[in-house]
Subunit: 698 residues, 2 copies
């Protein structure tokens, strides 16, 4: 589903989002108390938070003699799982383990059964993990549950004054929802298998269990079809997955407890099909991947279309063992149907009212083909139609209301509204979205059980293999928590603390969400010192929702470099959050806390002085010239904030003229620059207002 | 060759090395002037500096339409070479290239011939590269030369205000020495193939052409032998290269113009052989990899030894196609020979005087076996003996005198003295070592021609796959320049500027010398913010030479984690160098330059305030507790420096009592802490002395 033209469907994200987030933090019910471990224990950085956590006493030392024993069900898959776990633990701790022969194992694993050859929806993922100072025990009904438990164990291991250790604890855990997915669009920008694999590793670390692979769209068809080789031969830029690569990838994901569901978007979002097979379309060739003009869509009125799909879906159903098969179905732009007299005739002849009815007819035909191949059809909101069997699954990008509507009609559903990672929302905003909230609260328990979970979505208009990790992580971890952990787990401050810890853990897995940022800044800076550039990059965020599209003239060139600062910076600025928190604290404590003021001054001074250091660098790089005003605005904000503090320190009320000047500075800094927003404007504004008498020292 | 017990052989590196380096920078003859491009042109960050560089006018834009055409000799190897080059250029610039069909190629390559199947010593590596604003042309007698030229082209591409571009220039280039190697010891710590490969990429980037693979030593035998499987089966910890991996690796290196010469160290440094084959040793089993007691060595008196070596060398000679075969021969500890009556009898019976004669006998026998397998024998200094044929090559760890001695006797030689990367010397010190300097200046031209070049050496007592890159790079680039570039290229300031640029380039290749440091600091810090930790890490260096060994009691555990701060920090602190330069400038300009003083104060303030931020972190991590005094000392230095500046600012001479106090602080900070040195002591001492009247404002 392309996000274009849908910005109004999503709540606009305002300039004051940081303040909203702070309010969330302040008002968030601290239900974690019920999961909290005893005082004096190290904080647990678990994400997703397990269903039940009981504090133990002491800690289990992790030393060179660390070892694992398997006392239950045993197969190659579990052996490899344990080996991966040990390798990862060794990487995190830097300890090359050398288990002492004959000694009792540090960690005992007992699984009752193996996992199924093809992972099923609802396959048992539960586990129990007990860590004591003498050893740890992990039990699970299946080796899939053991995999989940091993990920939890990795998160328990921390450096302590006495060496690496796992905190003593008893955990009983199972997921809240059986379907916890991440969609990755590989059509707009191709994402190579190695990048896909490291994201699978990240998903496993946060206990997600479905990779929804958006494999075809207008801009590229990414799967080799042996029956229809022109799908990739003409419908891609040469970048696609071979069937061998796909089989290997599915096996890789299966080993980590992750299903791979393919999506072939039909009848819209399908331009790439028509380069090789124009006869499938509702209009006339030639088509190009670049597009332009009206969106071509599949012609559902010709029997030849279904003959093609019979063969194609049979081939793909065999390639992808998952029982679910996603046919897209979103955003069908009916202009080609309207313009085609034969299609309009067909609509009339079959007593249909409109294009929606025609799409429903197409979906019914499609569903039969999918079912014949022993798969369950999944599609976006738009496929919902009473003529379709109740076995299908509806994925909602529209919201909980749409999801509840499906459930009331007896259809199973998935929520993706609120989980669009490409909208550049802060983690807290995603975290607040619950599949069972809003409209869903009116459902009966039976209807509730039809809500299978949800999926975060990484649409790929603005990502490359280089920066995709930083668009997905670490924010995806909080969506994973929303879908795994009990509904009551929603303390925002705790979430941020744990997400930040998780972010480091994810880098140890090989994800590059932080390291690639450094490299990209170095590229912009022409391989020179990036310290001053980082000061700027650390306090900006990309514009939100679909605002980046507003500057776009004509079709996007999906082969253009994505190497601007907006492409490198984090969707959410840690520094701005920290600064904002400091200012909140300072204002709330009556503008008196000198230690906090010193910290605030530290930031403001760095920002004020940064432009003079950074400006020469910005001027000499074509990739940075557009950021000159941004850097100047940051400098001006730093100066304004410092002057405000000076007035406060002297006990003076800042004069009106000065305040008016600062408001001009602030208004200018609020504006979008180079498709980015300065995220420290609001707290500086607070300081200015406080110094002008809208807040006084006690 | 183990570095143990050799610390006295190398000049001690003093606490004041930073000052020495500054003197080098100040006094270094700026011969680069003859290579400099016209004023107003961007600086060229080439390393190694080509033999001849002529500035052109303008620059060649590197855009999406960048393309390469081959107008000369053509084979798969060259195609792959060009593909790698384009991929690398795309990574550096972030531009996904889409050449315009039919347009004239941006870069034309013309090679006269292909390269030889097995790379020979002296194979033509020359090339000419002309870059103009309209296009670039690379010509070379061989595709090997073209490979060298493509690496130069990559270094010419920089970000400019008008986008990425290659500076217009005409380069004629060829190496000064035909043998430019890097030794990597994989016995003490096993280095996996992927890490070896990225180091090959780094070598190719700086035009090195020999990987000297130190494959066996006391601590581990790392090559699969099908004839003698116990060599790795019992003589390693299970980590070794299969023959298939080795063949693949050699082919990888060959593609990048790098020979792979194996070394099997004999008759000393060979404990690992004896676990599986104790009958080869001069003493009695059992042996363990951990060692202890006297060093076991090969028994050269038994015919069975030579039967073993006949078979073994025949197998290895086939596996490694390079014409040179290194037999080690260094540091033979004769205690086992002394203690074995049969060996002593043999010595007498053959009219030998001592153990040295016995080793010479062994080497003669060995040389015949090596020669029978069509290989040329290479060994360390100790093998030099008039009974050996003049075809052998002597590698000198002892110095230019030893090298010159070999040449006078008609032997070819390689210099490694001065190029030991594991000694933690600053780049400038390695850079100053020239194979033709000192004793070599007395040689005749003919004798001079026997000096083939040199090799840097990365002995692996203190490296792991995680930190080996940071021990090799970027310093290895300056040794590469010493061996490739004209002897007159020796300006130290230029070298540092270009080495720093090269360091970024090397990270784009996948080397991890910078990124791994960040990860290691994060591990120590328990996955929390490392900013304050980095402030400390940035101003320390590991102790020099073999000083780290002095704390070692008993045999080293080569499986212990190497995760302390000393294992993460750079061998050379950029920050300390920059600070030291600032203080020099400040003092030399009569203590008046306010802008420089402000920069100095910036550093000092950060250091003074850092301990209070860092201390809690240090206390909570077992890996950081040893660094508490280091952090306190840095803080104290910061305070001392600031007070000194305060006296200077006020025009006062600091009182004697204050000065005495500061000298105590400085003396304490000079000391080794946690096997590291604080590298900013000397410049702070300069400030203190200046404030106490040993330097006054004009």
């Amino acid at each position: 589903m392309s996000p274009a033209d849908r910005s109004s469907a999503n709540g606009r994200f305002t300039f004051f989002c940081r303040i909203m987030r702070n309010l969330l933090i302040v008002t968030g019910v601290s239900v974690l108390a019920s999961f909290a471990v005893a005082q004096g224990q190290p904080q647990l950085n678990l994400m997703p938070m397990p269903a039940s956590v009981q504090a133990g006493t002491g800690q289990l030392a992790i030393s060179q003699s660390f070892s694992v024993a398997n006392t239950g069900f045993h197969d190659t898959s579990l052996d490899e799982e344990v080996q991966r776990f040990v390798t990862q633990l060794s990487r995190q701790t830097g300890i090359p383990f050398r288990p002492k022969a004959g000694a009792g194992a540090t960690l005992q694993i007992h699984a009752d059964h193996g996992r199924q050859a093809v992972q099923t929806l609802g396959e048992d993922e539960s586990y129990e993990l007990t860590v004591a100072d003498s050893g740890a025990k992990l039990t699970a009904p299946t080796t899939l549950g053991a995999e989940r438990g091993l990920q939890t164990f990795l998160q328990l291991v921390q450096i302590t004054p006495a060496g690496f250790a796992a905190t003593a604890v008893t955990i009983k855990d199972q997921p809240r929802f059986p379907w916890r997915g991440l969609l990755i669009d590989v059509s707009r920008h191709f994402i190579p298998i190695d990048v896909m694999k490291r994201n699978i590793d990240g998903m496993a670390a946060v206990k997600m269990n479905v990779l929804h692979w958006h494999l075809s769209d207008d801009q590229g068809f990414r799967v080799e079809s042996k029956k229809f080789p022109k799908l990739t031969g003409m419908g891609s830029d040469g970048m696609f997955y071979t069937q061998a690569e796909i089989r290997d990838f599915i096996s890789y994901a299966r080993d980590r407890g992750i299903r791979v569901m393919p999506e072939f978007d039909m009848p819209g979002h399908s331009r790439s099909w028509f380069l090789g097979y124009p006869e499938l379309s509702s209009g006339t060739a030639p088509y190009t991947l670049e597009g332009g003009g009206i969106d071509p869509i599949i012609d559902p009125t010709r029997e030849s279309t279904y003959k093609f799909l019979e063969k194609f879906i049979a081939e793909m159903a065999k390639l992808f063992p998952d029982p679910y098969f996603h046919i897209g179905g979103d955003e069908v732009d009916g202009k080609q149907w309207d313009a085609n007299p034969k299609i309009q005739e067909f609509i009339k002849a079959h007593g249909m009212k409109n294009n929606q009815d025609l799409q429903a007819y197409f979906n019914q035909r499609l569903e039969k083909i999918v079912a014949k191949n022993h798969k369950t059809m999944v599609g976006w909101d738009e496929i919902l139609h009473p003529d379709l069997p109740k076995t299908i699954v509806v994925q909602s990008w529209r919201g909980q209301k749409s999801l509840a509507e499906s459930a009331k009609q007896g259809y199973r559903g998935l929520l993706s509204y609120g989980y669009y990672l490409d909208l550049m929302w802060p983690a807290a905003r995603h975290y607040a979205v619950d599949p069972m909230a809003d409209a869903a609260v009116t459902l009966t328990p039976e209807q509730n059980s039809l809500i299978l979970g949800g999926e975060s979505c990484q649409w790929a208009e603005w990502v490359t293999p280089e920066n995709i990790d930083s668009h997905i992580w670490p924010r995806n971890a909080v969506i994973a928590e929303r879908l795994w952990s009990p509904q009551e787990v929603k303390d925002v401050a705790s979430m941020y603390r744990r997400m930040n810890a998780m972010s480091y853990e994810l880098e140890w897995l090989g994800l590059t969400h932080n390291s690639a940022r450094t490299e990209m800044l170095q590229r912009m800076a022409g391989n020179s010192d990036v310290e001053a550039l980082r000061v700027l990059a650390d306090v900006v965020e990309p514009v939100k929702d679909y605002d980046r599209w507003s500057d776009q003239k004509g079709p996007i060139d999906f082969h253009a470099p994505l190497t601007r600062m907006i492409d490198a910076v984090s969707p959410e600025s840690d520094t701005a959050l920290e600064f904002s928190d400091l200012v909140q604290k300072f204002v709330q404590n009556g503008l008196q806390d000198q230690a906090v003021e010193a910290q605030i001054r530290g930031y403001l001074t760095t920002w004020r002085d940064n432009d003079s250091r950074l400006h020469p660098l910005l001027e000499q790089s074509s990739l940075l010239q557009e950021d000159v005003p941004l850097s100047q605005n940051l400098s001006a904000l730093g100066a304004a904030g410092l002057q405000a503090l000076d007035y406060l320190d002297k006990g003076q009320t800042a004069p009106d003229a000065w305040k008016a000047q600062q408001i001009t500075v602030i208004d200018q800094a609020k504006g979008r620059q180079a498709d980015m927003l300065l995220m420290v404007v609001a707290p500086v504004q607070q300081l200015v207002q406080a110094s002008a008498g809208q807040g006084q020292r006690n």
